[in-house]
Every structure is written in structure tokens, then in C-alpha cells.
């Protein structure tokens, strides 16, 4: 109920002002308001008073209407009165046919609810600007490699762009960071970002508490400072504002807490990041090199600068850099992309496909309800005829029917909103990890409006057709109720609708069929490792005791030893990088025998710094040479093992064993073995170039390693024992993630799986609705043709003749729908192309099997009406007339 705090409900007042007859309006409203203020408010409170007011208002037009004198006295009230009368009548009718009403409302609720849920999820991602001031001006800047792939930048490149470009208002470089909060309760590893001081200014968001970074914080010699997210500050530090300005301990090092970001700050470039510190690279000599490409760059354009002109400026700048440092750049140039495109481009195909699919579901739902109403319209022709005979105009009857359908769609809309709320929750739960702006997904007011708009549109759409049909035929003729046969045009419309439903359902079924086949293909791809019985546990080291690399290696060595002693463990090892986990660590490799003229163009490969036994534990097959073993370590010759694809790429047709390579330093590593290719980023990604190096032969130790353990039984059962074993070495080390390799395989295909699950749901609903449509039309047809069927069987038609006659009718509709659906699927399969893997959008097997499936469903839908027709007793039907 709307209205101000004290006065009567505003909407009710407006209704009165708008619709009440002119001569009583003032006195009537005045009386109501007087009683409302004088008596009701004081005696019963605001709520009750308003309720009373509404009751008075709603009874007004209906009561007043019955008075002929008042009705003629006013011009404005006729419409509302007719409308209210229509609504009452429609409500009575709908209540009298609960089965029809429930079926129609439920169908609509499914269509509207699913549409609203999907739209809710897609809207903040694809259609809404990012939650920053002037979001269109926030850009990402990339270095491009030769193949047109985007690459991170080294700090000097970032600094040159910032200094030389005139297009940007502010810029920031972003690096990864994670640190363990120590000193307060249990150690906890928290993700963060190391950023240049302009980071928050680039987004246009300032801390809610304390201060932003300033340039002095970014100097090499600056004291360490940290800004926390609102969530982390509240959870870990109890929202204590007095902590701002005080030191907190991260991995044993004191950082001054200088600020807390507002709760509303959404960090699309690092949704997991909970804290930020400065890069501290600003100084006379940059501590990072041009080829150390470990930073992302974000920048805010000056007002009036567009994407094209900044790209023109940066390509010039890129050429200058190439000339000045020919050995540091791969000559791909620099490129600017709007942040919004950057964030959404990877999920766009899946979301658009899902949006399209749900649109089809809504269409089918509408067609189904239209069909239901059409059938009812036919049944009610007698009623319309009587109303016409009593003086109702055609417009009046059409309006009554429209009221009914709008009302029905409103009921469907309300139910659909419930479906939407549940659906959005399910979507967030189902969503792939990479989906950006997850926290922004909710059923909001806009989506509610969208649902209502869809509902009324649908109402008018499906109300119009039956209304026209019902009144096109001669109304007076209809009083003659002897025959209930559907008029030819109504039957044609209904059949057309069912054909359309079948076609749309087939399109959805083919879409999900293609996705299912892709999923099978993806999981059939050899991952290169043996996922069964392997569990992976990531451990981070933190604290002063680990300042020395040797201490880190010793710690991990002890962990491996301790875990190997756990009963049920076959083997264990550690690695810096785990396949399919989201880890991404590539390293440029310089071959002694095939060096590139420009070191920046050296091939890069995934780097796995591992302990001996890693390759065996993961079940990665040896192709040539030998694996790494206990003898490879500190003080021994530097050795690596490489992947097959990498061997082919750098030493095609040669034996790579014994070849030497460098990794950005002077140390030469000798290749001692070649192993099978392993999928690192995803099962469907082609690149597998990799090398494996003994962890203690690498130039630095990593503070995050993943322990991989092969077990005899179910690996998930051992996780408790594993934790205990790890903590027995050092109880202060946080365990970050525990997952079996099988789980990681599934998670790595989350986006495809997400689309697949939704398509399966939608296709299931669509097939059900189409089957209901076929059933409805046939059942109606059988009911209308009882006499004809009776005559036929009296003249000697057998039961199977009758049966096949009805089935033929049903399958005929299905066949036409299938042909149209196949054409539609072929045309629209391009939408799905980005989600398919190893399957063509025109895959004959999928099309064939799905068509058969739909045929079976259609046959089942035909069965009941056909059976009923075959049981028609000719004697009974003929006697009835």
C-alpha cells in the first residue's frame, strides 16, 4: 500500500480523484479523509486505518455504479466500473475451473519464472555498466604477443605508458598477492592484490574509512601499508575502526592498516581479493624487468578520449618501445580494451546461449497457454452467443476475454516471481567459478518490472487470438449448441501452435544434445594424468622461519615424508603448479641449439617445480629418457623433464634428450626425459607445452606448493589424516584447498556444465509442454469427433483403424514441427558454437537421436486420446443425438 506517513493511501486517493463522479467527488473524499484522520488513525493505528480506507474506496465505484442517476452524472467512471465487473467475473470463472486455471498459471509461471531468473543473472553481467563512476572510461591495457594473444606487462612498460601517454587520467598496475594473517587467532591465508597507488582512484572509489594510497606509499623504500575490504575487516578484525593507523601482522611482517574499502566496492579484476598493498616499485631504478610480465594494467581515460584514439596513441608508443628495447618485446604492440568487455567476454557466449534458450521456453509456454485458452474459447461459444443476444457488443466480449487472460498471466507472473527467486538462488549456486559480478545477481526491482511487462505482454498476446476466434463466428449461430465442433480456423490455429511448440522444443533438445555430446568429448580427452585416487592439498608457508629458501624446501620435504607414513597413502610429492586448478605459471625457455634472435620471442612453457616422485604420483607417462629422482637436487647437475608437445615444438624430428635450455638466468638445464602432455588450464584448451624441474634446483622457493597424494582407497576419506600429518610438521601453516583431481576435472568445465544443466532443464520443460500441447489438441479433437468416430466404427472401422487415425493426426503435427525445428536448430546452432567441443553444430547423431526421442514423447502424448477414441461405443454416441 502506498502513501505518505500520515495521510490516506495515495494510490487510493488517486483512484478516487480519477474515477469518482464529479458532483460527489469532493464531499465523498472529504468525508473519507475526515474520518480517516479524526477517528481511524487515533483509534486503530495507521495500518488498520489504511485498510479501512482501501475497503471504502474499493467498494465505492461498484456501489455507486448501481445507481443509474450517478452513472449518468459522470463521464469518467464507466471504464473503471466495467473493468472491475470484468475482473470479478473473470475471477469467478477461473475459480470455477481449477484444473484449467492451475495448468495455465503453472505453465506461465515456469516460462515467466525461468525468464526472470535468467534475466536477473545475465543483466548485471552483460547489460549493466560496472559499478564505478563513468565506468565506460575504465580500460585494461595489454601487451600483445605475436599470435595476437594478450599478455601481462613488466613494470617498466607500465611506467613508460603512464608517463608518455596523454590519454589517461590515472593508471594502475596490478599484481597477485596472498599473505597469511598471523598474530590474531588461527593463521589464515588471504588473497589480495599488490597495486600501484592509483588503483582505487582509477576505479573512482575511495576508502570508506581511513585514507587511500598516495604516491609515497609506492616507493621502494616506503613503509608497508595495507587497505582491507569491508568483509575482511568485519570478519577478522570485528569491524574495529580504531585499528586504522595501527600495524597488523601479515606473514609475520608488520603492515600499517591505513584504510577500509566501502562494502559496495566491487573488485571485478579480483573478486577473491580481500586486501591491497602497494607494489613499491617506484624508484630511481625499477626493480622489475620489462620481460617480467607479471602485472595487469588498468587505466581511466580522460573525459572525451575514446577507445579508438587511445589505441592509436598506444600503438605508436608500442612501436617506440620496440625500437628502444628490441630484445624485450615480441612486436605485438599494445592494446586497450574496455574493462566491461574484458570482464564479460569469456562468459558472454554461455550467457547469450542460455538467454536464447530461456526465450524459447517462454515462447513455448505462451503457445501452450494460448492453446488452452483457444480450446476454452471454443467451448464457451454458447456463452458468448447468449451474452451477445442480451446486448453485449463484440468489443465488450473481447474485452472480457482479454481481462481474463491478463488476470491469468498476472497470477502466472506472481507465481513466476516465486519460481524466479528460487531460480536465481539455484543459478548462483550452480554458477561457474569464473562468472563475474556474482554478488550483484539478485531478483531486483528492475527484474520484477521486467517480469510484469513480460506477463502483461503475454497476457495480451495470448488473450487476443482466442478472443478474436471466439467472436469471429456468428455469435447468434452459436446459441444452437447441438454441435460442439471447433470451427476450422480455430483448429488450424491450434494445430499451428502445437507445431510451433514441437519445433521450439526440438531446437532446445538439439541444443542440449549437442552440449551433452561436447561434455562427453571433453571428458574423454586425455588429461595426461591419472586422476583416480589422487587428492591435492595446497599449503602456503608463512612466517619468519621461512625467510630462507632452504627452510621452505626442508618444510615441504618433511611434509612429504610425514604424509607418506599415513596408512593408505601410496605415494606423495609436491608441485608449484597443479593441472586444472586455475594455477597459471609460464616461463620463457631459451634453447641452446635453437635460440631465437629476440629473447622475447622464445617459446614459453608451463613451469612445474616439483619434488621427486611427482610425475609418478600423478601417473604422467614417461615417453623417453628418465623421470626426476632423489639424486637430482642441490649440488647436482641441473636437469629438467619436458612434455612431448614442447619437444616437438622446439626440437622437431630431433632427440631432445641431452639438449640444454636456460630460463632467464645463466644456468643451463639439461633435458633428461620426455613425458606425456598434461592439460593445465582446461581439458578443452590445446596448449600443453611444459617442463618439470626439481624444486630445489629452481632459483627461488615458492611459498605455495600443492601436495599431491595417491591413495589406495577413496582419496576423500584420507583428508583428515592428511591434515593431521601436515600439521604435525608445523601447525601454523594454512591449508588452502583440498580437492581430488576428479573434482578438479569437473570444476574446470564448470562453464560448459552450467550451460548444459540449464539447457537440460529448459529442454525437459519444453518437451513436457509440447507433449501437453499435442495431447490437448488431440484430446479436444477426439471429444469433438465422438459422433464421427461412432459412425466410422458402426460402418465397420476396426479399433486399430480408429487408433491409427488419431495417432496419424498427432504424428503428422509432430513431423511438421520436427522439420521446422531441425531447420531452426541448424540456423541457430551458431549461437552455441563457442560452447561446443569436438562436435559440429550440425552433428547428425545428435539430430537423429533427439528427433527419435521427441517422436517417442509425441507418441506417448497421442496414446491416451487414441485409446479413448478406440473405446468409443458407436451405439451410445449415435443414440445420443
Amino acid at each position: 500500500m502506498s502513501g505518505g506517513d500520515e495521510g490516506p493511501p495515495r494510490l487510493a486517493m488517486w483512484l478516487l480523484e480519477r474515477f469518482l463522479a464529479g458532483d460527489v467527488r469532493e464531499a465523498f473524499i472529504g468525508d473519507l479523509e475526515e474520518v480517516f484522520r479524526e477517528t481511524m488513525l487515533a483509534a486503530r493505528g495507521t495500518r488498520a486505518a489504511r485498510l479501512w480506507f482501501w475497503r471504502e474506496v474499493l467498494s465505492a465505484p461498484l456501489t455507486v455504479r448501481r445507481d443509474p442517476a450517478l452513472q449518468t452524472a459522470s463521464g469518467g467512471d464507466g471504464m473503471l466500473m466495467n473493468l472491475l465487473a470484468d475482473v470479478r467475473y473473470a475471477l469467478r470463472l477461473l475459480a470455477r475451473r481449477p484444473a484449467f486455471t492451475a495448468l495455465a498459471a503453472f505453465t506461465l509461471a515456469l516460462g515467466i519464472g525461468a525468464t526472470t531468473a535468467i534475466f536477473s543473472a545475465v543483466k548485471p553481467i552483460l547489460f549493466e555498466p560496472l559499478p564505478y563512476p563513468h565506468p565506460g572510461r575504465v580500460m585494461m591495457v595489454w601487451e600483445m604477443d605475436q599470435d595476437g594473444g594478450k599478455s601481462n606487462l613488466g613494470f617498466p612498460t607500465y611506467r613508460d605508458i603512464t608517463k608518455q601517454s596523454t590519454s589517461f587520467e590515472t593508471t594502475a598496475a596490478i599484481g597477485g598477492w596472498s599473505a597469511t594473517i598471523t598474530g590474531r587467532g588461527e593463521p589464515e591465508s588471504v588473497n589480495g592484490q599488490r597495486v600501484s597507488y592509483g588503483f582505487f582512484r582509477t576505479f573512482g572509489v575511495a576508502p570508506a574509512l581511513g585514507r587511500d594510497f598516495v604516491s609515497a606509499d609506492d616507493a621502494t623504500s616506503a613503509e608497508r601499508v595495507v587497505i582491507l575490504s569491508d568483509a575482511l575487516w568485519r570478519r577478522r578484525f570485528a569491524g574495529d575502526a580504531s585499528l586504522v593507523g595501527k600495524p597488523i601482522s601479515l606473514a609475520g611482517v608488520p603492515y600499517t592498516l591505513i584504510g577500509v574499502m566501502p562494502k559496495s566496492f566491487e573488485n571485478v579484476l579480483g573478486p577473491q581479493a580481500q586486501m591491497w598493498t602497494t607494489l613499491r616499485y617506484e624508484g630511481e631504478v625499477a626493480p622489475a624487468c620489462r620481460t617480467c610480465r607479471h602485472l595487469r594494467m588498468v587505466a581511466r581515460l580522460r573525459p572525451g578520449v575514446d577507445e579508438a584514439s587511445v589505441n592509436a596513441e598506444l600503438s605508436l608508443l608500442g612501436r617506440n618501445l620496440d625500437r628502444a628495447y628490441p630484445n624485450d618485446y615480441a612486436k605485438g604492440g599494445l592494446h586497450v580494451v574496455a574493462l566491461h568487455d574484458e570482464v564479460t567476454s569469456s562468459v558472454r557466449p554461455a550467457l547469450l546461449a542460455v538467454l536464447g534458450a530461456v526465450g524459447l521456453v517462454l515462447l513455448i509456454a505462451c503457445a501452450n497457454v494460448m492453446n488452452l485458452l483457444l480450446a476454452r474459447g471454443v467451448q464457451r461459444q454458447g456463452e458468448f452467443a447468449i451474452r451477445a443476444a442480451l446486448g453485449a457488443s463484440r468489443v465488450r466480449v473481447v474485452r472480457q476475454l482479454l481481462t481474463e487472460s491478463v488476470l491469468l498471466s498476472l497470477v502466472g507472473g506472481v507465481l513466476g516471481l516465486g519460481v524466479a527467486v528460487a531460480g536465481v538462488r539455484a543459478l548462483v549456486w550452480l554458477s561457474p567459478a569464473g562468472l563475474p559480478r556474482l554478488t550483484a545477481i539478485k531478483v531486483d526491482a528492475h527484474v520484477l518490472l521486467f517480469a510484469l511487462a513480460v506477463t502483461s505482454l503475454v497476457g495480451i498476446l495470448f488473450g487476443l487470438l482466442p478472443a478474436l476466434h471466439a467472436t469471429r463466428s456468428n455469435l447468434h449461430h452459436g446459441i444452437n449448441l447441438a454441435s460442439r465442433r471447433t470451427t476450422g480456423s480455430a483448429r488450424f490455429t491450434r494445430t499451428t501452435l502445437v507445431i510451433g511448440e514441437v519445433a521450439l522444443a526440438l531446437m532446445l533438445l538439439i541444443g542440449s544434445g549437442l552440449l551433452i555430446r561436447s561434455m562427453q568429448r571433453v571428458f574423454a580427452v586425455a588429461s595426461g594424468f591419472d586422476a583416480g585416487h589422487v587428492v591435492a592439498v595446497q599449503i602456503r608457508t608463512a612466517g619468519k622461519t621461512f625467510n630462507e629458501d632452504s627452510a621452505v624446501w626442508r618444510f615441504y620435504d618433511q611434509v612429504v615424508q610425514s604424509v607418506r607414513a599415513v596408512p593408505g597413502v601410496q605415494s606423495a610429492a609436491v608441485t608449484t603448479q597443479l593441472p586444472l586448478s586455475g594455477d597459471f605459471d609460464q616461463q620463457g625457455v631459451r634453447s641452446e641449439s635453437h635460440p631465437r634472435a629476440n629473447p622475447a620471442e622464445d617459446p614459453s612453457a608451463f613451469r612445474y617445480a616439483v619434488s621427486p616422485g611427482y610425475l609418478e604420483t600423478m601417473g604422467i607417462r614417461l615417453r623417453r629418457g628418465r623421470l626426476l629422482n632423489q639424486q637430482d637436487g642441490i649440488g647436482k647437475p641441473f636437469v629438467i623433464v619436458i612434455s612431448e608437445s614442447f619437444a616437438r615444438r622446439v626440437w622437431p624430428g630431433e632427440d631432445p634428450i641431452g639438449q640444454r635450455v636456460q630460463f632467464g638466468s645463466d644456468t643451463w638445464y639439461t633435458i633428461v626425459g620426455v613425458v606425456a602432455d598434461v592439460k593445465q588450464t582446461s581439458l578443452s584448451a590445446p596448449e600443453s607445452d611444459a617442463f618439470y624441474v626439481p624444486a630445489d634446483q629452481w632459483s627461488y622457493a615458492s611459498n605455495a606448493m600443492t601436495l599431491v597424494v595417491r591413495t589406495n582407497g577413496d582419496p576423500a576419506l584420507l583428508s583428515g589424516a592428511l591434515r593431521k600429518a601436515i600439521w604435525s610438521v608445523d601447525k601454523d601453516q594454512p591449508i588452502v584447498r583440498v580437492a581430488t583431481m576428479d573434482e578438479l576435472r569437473v570444476v574446470s568445465e564448470a562453464q560448459r556444465r552450467f550451460a548444459l544443466i540449464l539447457f537440460e532443464c529448459f529442454a525437459g520443460i519444453a518437451a513436457l509442454l509440447a507433449a501437453a500441447g499435442i495431447y490437448g489438441v488431440l484430446a479436444g479433437s477426439v471429444a469433438e469427433r465422438v459422433r464421427e468416430i461412432g459412425v466410422r466404427s458402426a460402418l465397420g472401422a476396426s479399433r486399430s483403424d480408429i487408433l491409427s487415425m488419431i495417432v496419424r493426426e498427432g504424428l503428422g503435427m509432430t513431423l511438421i514441427g520436427v522439420v521446422i525445428g531441425i531447420i531452426g536448430a541448424m540456423v541457430s546452432s551458431r549461437v552455441l558454437a563457442g560452447l561446443l567441443f569436438g562436435v559440429s553444430g550440425l552433428d547428425a547423431v545428435t539430430y537423429g537421436s533427439v528427433t527419435v526421442l521427441l517422436g517417442v514423447i509425441a507418441l506417448i502424448a497421442c496414446a491416451i486420446p487414441a485409446w479413448r477414441a478406440a473405446r468409443v461405443d458407436p451405439a451410445v454416441t449415435l443414440r445420443a443425438d
Binding site: 464531499a27 472529504g30 468525508d31 479523509e33 474520518v35 455507486v64 448501481r66
Partner: protein, 108 residues
């Protein structure tokens, strides 16, 4: 125009008689409620008053606007001579018809 009066029309006309100069929508509704216990909506009161006006039984005049009415004027209703006569006729008819029935009332 019909001279027949419905039961509620009688109640309204009686209320106008009792209220005299002070008869407007709220007062009529309250008078009926307090004397008979019947709570009716304003719509009912106004519909009836309007019908009585059309039938020529009541006259109306505008009052002054007051703040508690949102600055709206009252509309006062007054029963006229024809109205009084008709009401009297109507009540007399009822009394006549009911005469002598009082004794057997409880056995009905």
C-alpha cells in the same frame, strides 16, 4: 419518479431529520451506526443520498472547506417537504401492516 422508499432510504431520511442543519456524509453514517448498530460504507450512504436527491426528497448545500478534510468542502443534505411527506407515508404503511402482530410475534 417513484415515491416508494427502500428500508435504507428510510433510515437515511430519518437520520437527516434527527441531524437537522448538521447532516453531511460522516454525520449520517455515524447517526445510523450509533442508533441501529449498522456500519455501512460511505459509498452506500452517498449512493442512497444521491438517489434521494434525484427523487426530489432532499436538498443540498455546500459547506466551508476544513483542514482535516484535506481542504475539501462538506456537502450538507436536508430533507424537504416532499421528502417528509413521503417518509411519513412510508412509515405509516409499515406501522399499519405491523399493527396487531406484536402479540403473535414471538411465536413466529
Amino acid at each position: 419518479m417513484s415515491t416508494h422508499l427502500g428500508e435504507f432510504e428510510q433510515l437515511v431520511l430519518l437520520a437527516l431529520l434527527r441531524l437537522g442543519e448538521e447532516a453531511y456524509g460522516v454525520a449520517v453514517q455515524k447517526e445510523i451506526a450509533s442508533e441501529t448498530g449498522r456500519r455501512v460504507s460511505f459509498a452506500t450512504v452517498y449512493t442512497t443520498l444521491a438517489r434521494l436527491e434525484v427523487k426530489g426528497f432532499v436538498a443540498t448545500r455546500q459547506g466551508d472547506p476544513t483542514p482535516e478534510r484535506g481542504g475539501r468542502r462538506k456537502k450538507y443534505f436536508e430533507i424537504n417537504a416532499l421528502g417528509k411527506r413521503t417518509l411519513k407515508e412510508s412509515l405509516r404503511a409499515i406501522r399499519t401492516m405491523a399493527r396487531g402482530l406484536d402479540a403473535s410475534w414471538d411465536t413466529l
